[in-house]
């Protein structure tokens, strides 16, 4: 059983990986995955704990995770590697020719841990609902988790999915919105104000939890609470406040780091702020 401190150490390594991967590829999205690193570490290492040796596309008898905002790929790949789905050394191939680590997650390259391609926004919640329905039909008690972006909620399909999941009582599903308040063009509220998201999800009849997503203790506790609320007739939503770029001061809360890679100097400066714990790849 990993302690909070141990989880934090893994998250620090994941953040280092993200910076090094995006720098190594001279492309990618550092801001989002830095903000959601704590969630992904907690999910894999503490909550879902899938067996990477037994990865199958069907994912029978284990919890499933879907990344709807696929541009957070660097963070997910790092967590998958550090958890044991593949060698950490492969992180160096991120976004390069012939790599299994495509710019956005892809099933086509056969990377273990990935069950659905994502990148074009707004599809992951529907996909997660489908996987959750299949689990119910198969009498598989495990849960389905989905991470989505906040800006992504501007895609209308999400609201189809939100309506469906509540209306059809898909209560083996936990969705998490990474509420960092920024998207490529700027703050959500400048691009398209989304109003009171919690009230909207509640109006759609979801069970809504809120948490600060850059505090490991709170993340683990809230995820456990979310597990407890499943199976009670409602899908569960976690509105997760995070800081884009968390862990690197000059990237913090700055939408300009959504999809820009750091140069050599900036990479050095960023890595100096992130403890190497497990060991760089």
């Amino acid at each position: 059983m990993l302690s909070i401190q141990e989880l934090e150490k893994i998250a620090s390594q994941v953040r280092r990986d993200i910076i090094r991967m995006v720098h190594g590829a001279s492309s990618g999205h550092p801001g989002g995955p830095l903000g959601s690193a704590d969630l992904l570490v907690a999910l894999y290492f503490k909550i879902m704990k899938p067996d990477p040796e037994k990865f199958t596309m069907d994912g029978t008898a284990e919890d499933l995770f879907f990344l709807s905002n696929g541009h957070l790929s660097a963070g997910w790949y790092s967590v998958l590697a550090r958890y044991g789905y593949f060698e950490a050394g492969e992180l160096a191939t991120f976004r390069k020719m012939g790599a299994r680590l495509q710019g956005h997650p892809a099933t086509a390259e056969g990377l273990p841990g990935i069950r659905m391609s994502s990148g074009s926004l707004g599809q992951g919640l529907s996909v997660s609902i489908g996987a959750a329905l299949a689990k119910k039909m198969n009498h598989d008690e495990h849960l389905v988790y989905c991470l989505m972006g906040d800006g992504e909620l501007q895609e209308g399909q999400n609201w189809e999915a939100l309506m469906f999941a509540a209306g059809k009582r898909v209560d083996n599903l936990v969705a998490v919105v990474d509420y960092n308040g920024v998207q490529i063009d700027g703050p959500n509220d400048k691009v398209l104000p989304m109003g009171d998201l919690q009230a909207k999800f509640e109006a759609f009849d979801w069970h809504v939890l809120t948490m600060y997503g850059n505090d490991m203790t709170e993340v683990v506790e809230t995820l456990k609470k979310a597990q407890w609320f499943t199976g009670q007739g409602k899908p569960v939503m976690i509105l997760m406040t995070t800081h884009m770029g968390n862990g690197v001061d000059f990237m913090l809360d700055n939408h300009e780091w959504h999809g820009v890679f750091p140069n050599d100097e900036q990479t050095k400066e960023a890595l100096a702020q992130l403890e190497e714990t497990i060991g760089d790849y």
Binding site: M57, A106, A108, S126, G130, L133, Q157, M163, F164
Partner: protein, 318 residues
Amino acid sequence: MTEYLNQGSKDTRSGFGEALLELGKQNPNVVALCADLTGSLKMDAFAAGFPDRFIQVGIAEANMICIAAGMTIGGKIPFTGTFANFSTGRVYDQIRQSVAYSNKNVKICASHAGLTLGEDGATHQNLEDLGMMKMLPNMTVINPCDFNQTKAATLAIATHPGPVYLRFGRPKWPNFTPPGQPFVIGRAMLLNEGTDVTIFAIGHMVWNALQACKTLEEQGIRAEVINVHTIKPLDEEAILASVTKTGCVVTAEEHMRNGGLGDSIAQLLVRKHPAPVEMVAVNDTFGESGKPEELLKKYGLDVPDIVAAAFRVIARKQ
């Protein structure tokens, strides 16, 4: 020529509905999803027989396609049902990313395709669907010709792994192929042997091609008629063998010329066996309200149009 008798006109969508019910009995992993068109798609028998495996999604096709893709994770074989227009154009990106690129075992079943949808008009008369679907890697594209064949095709795609687009229609149409026929995906069916011209047809236009073949025979032309029910993968071998014999081609389809069957066949011939081709198809225009037969006539998809195309293409042979 080989005689084909109409055993009694039936709508192809009913062939789909009957087969879906049969699949429900045969395979517990077959599930069906519909976006508020259960009656139109003839999915009510499945819905009544297998309520736990039928998912009414409501008027939310994007959600439906991605839910179907998600259900394959867990071993389900989802059949989605809505009109061709809402099965393709409305959800192209969902199909592209979550079904085709992710190579998921989703069967996209589309009714009310083409002009013969009739009175609803151009908003619903999708004439671009085959082109959109055949451009997607991993996608198999099928357009059977009558009730019996639609039933056979529906049964066949359940055991074919990977994404499939199955297209059928609304009107009652001559049902002339045998009941219980085997359906081999990707293998074109020779319906009549000939030597002067090959008519390749799909969907409702296969019956029209056979009628045209009769008229041509009366005028001394021996036309070969081939039902290319699978647009992708294309049966290149059968097509090339026939064109090698006849030397010219007419294609007939209830679809845009751009992106349709004629386009696929012309591409193949240009690469491997150049020959004159005439295409009986809708040419870069939207449809309109009307009766199916009136529309086919106005947009040049009637039997006399195929006959005229055959004479034109034969004249172009050197």
